[in-house]
């Protein structure tokens, strides 16, 4: 082959590389736009005045007279602050209680020797296949019969265990060398002390990930709270937003509705921006939506 032939091949491959790159970036920007646009739109709408929103037959992509009145309405016309507080209480207690339960059982599965350990663990794993929809019916009846509807106890109880997180944590605990445990035993450290002084600190990254994922799950939970609460005083944000949509503000006050949507979305978005590496790593290890 001659040198001129090589030149042509070089030019051609450089050109097609550049085209491919441009197309790739255009595609990615396009999808980023689709992802971000709803967020932009809800913030934009939330700062438009009620009258200007309703007078725009063709919606405008910006506003020259932003207002915070909608946010005031969101907190005064509907008990948004109440929903917020409820969700916070729900998320904190559920997550804390779950952490205790799963840490104890993950420790038992990972480090303690007892008859039937493997059988029991396999049984736990098989429970992962049971869909929530199947057991929620009886749980609804159980909680109703216990007179726990419209209470935090009723909201929280069924979400306290997660087989998946027990599994995740047990795997993590098992990676801690057994020699550490033996050394602690020789030194006369009790199991519980070992768990709190050694295993939990070492597994802290996983525990943090589980905590964040559980808080997100609590913040977004909708179905169970909807079944178990019909008193506004116990609504979580998801139910609150649905109630606002059906009869808050009067149906047409969309800017105020969007203000409420912004308010309940902000905490998670902030949490995500701070912990995005951790959250994404945690989810890719086997989380699913919902």
């Amino acid at each position: 082959m001659t040198n001129t032939g090589y030149d042509k091949i070089q030019k051609k491959s450089q050109r097609s590389d550049r085209t491919r790159k441009i197309v790739t970036y255009i595609g990615l920007v396009f999808w980023a736009f689709i992802v971000l646009f709803p967020f932009y739109w809800m913030i934009l709408t939330s700062v438009k005045t009620y009258s200007s929103y309703n007078s725009e037959y063709i919606p405008k992509f910006f506003t020259l007279s932003p207002t915070l009145q909608n946010y005031v309405d969101a907190f005064t016309a509907v008990p948004l602050a109440q929903y917020f507080l409820n969700t916070l209480i729900f998320a904190v207690i559920t997550t804390a209680a779950m952490l205790i339960v799963i840490i104890l059982s993950a420790f038992a599965f990972a480090r303690l020797e007892f008859k039937g350990r493997n059988a029991l663990f396999s049984f736990f794993l098989s429970l992962m296949m049971i869909p929530n929809e199947l057991v929620i019916i009886t749980n609804f009846v159980t909680i109703t019969n216990l007179g726990l509807r419209n209470t935090f106890t009723g909201l929280i109880l069924p979400s306290i265990t997660s087989v998946f997180y027990i599994y995740l944590l047990k795997e993590n605990f098992e990676q801690i060398p057994n020699e550490l445990y033996k050394a602690a035993k020789v030194d006369g450290t009790s199991d519980l002390k070992y768990l709190f002084k050694v295993m939990i600190p070492i597994s802290q990254p996983t525990i943090v990930t589980i905590t964040i994922l559980k808080v997100i799950e609590c913040w977004n939970s909708y179905v169970w709270p909807r079944l178990i609460t019909d008193n506004e005083a116990y609504f979580l944000v998801s139910n609150g937003i649905q109630a606002i949509r059906e009869n808050g503000f009067g149906r047409e006050n969309i800017p105020a509705m969007m203000a409420a949507v912004v308010v309940i979305s902000v905490p998670l978005v902030i949490l995500f921006l701070i912990f995005h590496k951790k959250i994404m790593a945690g989810v890719s290890r086997g989380g699913t939506k919902g």
Binding site: W41, I102, F124, L127, V135, I136, M258, H276
Partner: protein
């Protein structure tokens, strides 16, 4: 005492799982067989398959079944395909990769109900405004349509669109990390051999990440069959009236909600859903087994 200690650690988990998972699982089967159960008096008159027959004949259930199947068939392949496309694009760039990845993951952490409301106002046609999407359609010469209260296919389109928007972050994340874990040497070897990009993708990349794709298809099927809150977010709680109910929505409606109070029908419907999901999962597993040998 020593022997009992492990069980002490496990006690809370066993208790909660027993009460809220194992017992309900048995109970739901009993419910589904009890005919004419009355939740007020807690009595029933017979045992049999009547509940299943009732549910399968209920036009609302048939509608829900149809909606769910359409949703599954459209969104699972579509979201997996788009997810793969985006993951491949993400993997081929260096600049701004982290930024794009973070943006694409954002929908995962947002409240489905809340963002659904935004989609609703984007697609809805009201007396004052045609809504942004309709305005866009009209600028390109189409005729607008009310996606929220209008024809069935328009509503289904929004539901599918929103579902894909919601499930994509997870798929993009999983596929991006699967792609990144393929040993770079395979691509170098292929490049030296002059393999075209297209061929590299079909012959090397795809087979290498096929376990992850199957995992996503299986979880995608399971997730899509359980669709509910996306529909509520777009069309409101009275999904039967909107004609957009899903199987899970039907279960909840039977249990509670409008005209609820029939745990037996709810149980029967839930078990039917479970059977469908199990069957499809098994078929998926068989196929993936075959292609992986």
């Amino acid at each position: 005492m020593r022997k009992l200690r492990p069980w002490l650690y496990l006690l809370p988990a066993i208790a909660f799982l027993g009460v809220f998972m194992v017992y309900p699982l048995i109970d739901v089967m009993i419910y589904s067989m009890e005919e004419g159960y009355n939740s007020a008096s807690q009595t029933y008159f017979g045992v049999g398959l009547y509940n299943f027959r009732y549910v399968l004949r209920d036009p609302y259930f048939i509608q829900a079944l149809k909606n769910t199947f359409i949703l599954v068939i459209i969104t699972v392949p579509l979201s997996t395909g788009i997810g793969l496309l985006i993951a491949v694009a993400l993997n081929s760039i260096q600049k701004l990769k982290d930024l794009f990845q973070t943006i694409f993951f954002l929908p995962y952490v947002t409240n489905t109900l809340a963002v659904g409301l935004v989609f609703m106002i984007l697609f809805k046609k009201t007396a004052y405004s045609d809504g942004l999407i309709n305005v866009l359609i009209q600028t390109f010469g189409g005729t607008g349509v009310d996606f929220i209260d209008g024809p069935y296919w328009a509503k289904m389109f929004v539901l599918c669109f929103y579902t894909v928007w919601v499930v994509l972050p997870f798929k993009i994340l999983i596929l991006t990390s699967a792609l990144a874990s393929v040993n770079e040497d395979y691509y170098k070897a292929a490049k030296i051999d002059g393999t075209s990009r297209w061929r590299i993708f079909w012959k090397i990349t795809l087979p290498m990440i096929s376990p992850m794709i199957f995992y996503l298809i299986i979880t995608g099927f399971i997730g899509a069959f359980k669709a509910y809150s996306d529909a509520v977010a777009l069309f409101g709680t009275d999904l039967n009236a909107a004609g957009m109910n899903t199987i899970v929505g039907y279960v909840y409606d039977m249990l509670y909600g409008n005209g609820g109070g029939y745990p037996s029908y709810a149980s029967a419907a839930a078990l039917i859903l479970f059977a469908i999901v199990m069957t499809i999962t098994c078929i998926n597993l068989l196929i993936s087994e075959k292609t992986n040998v």
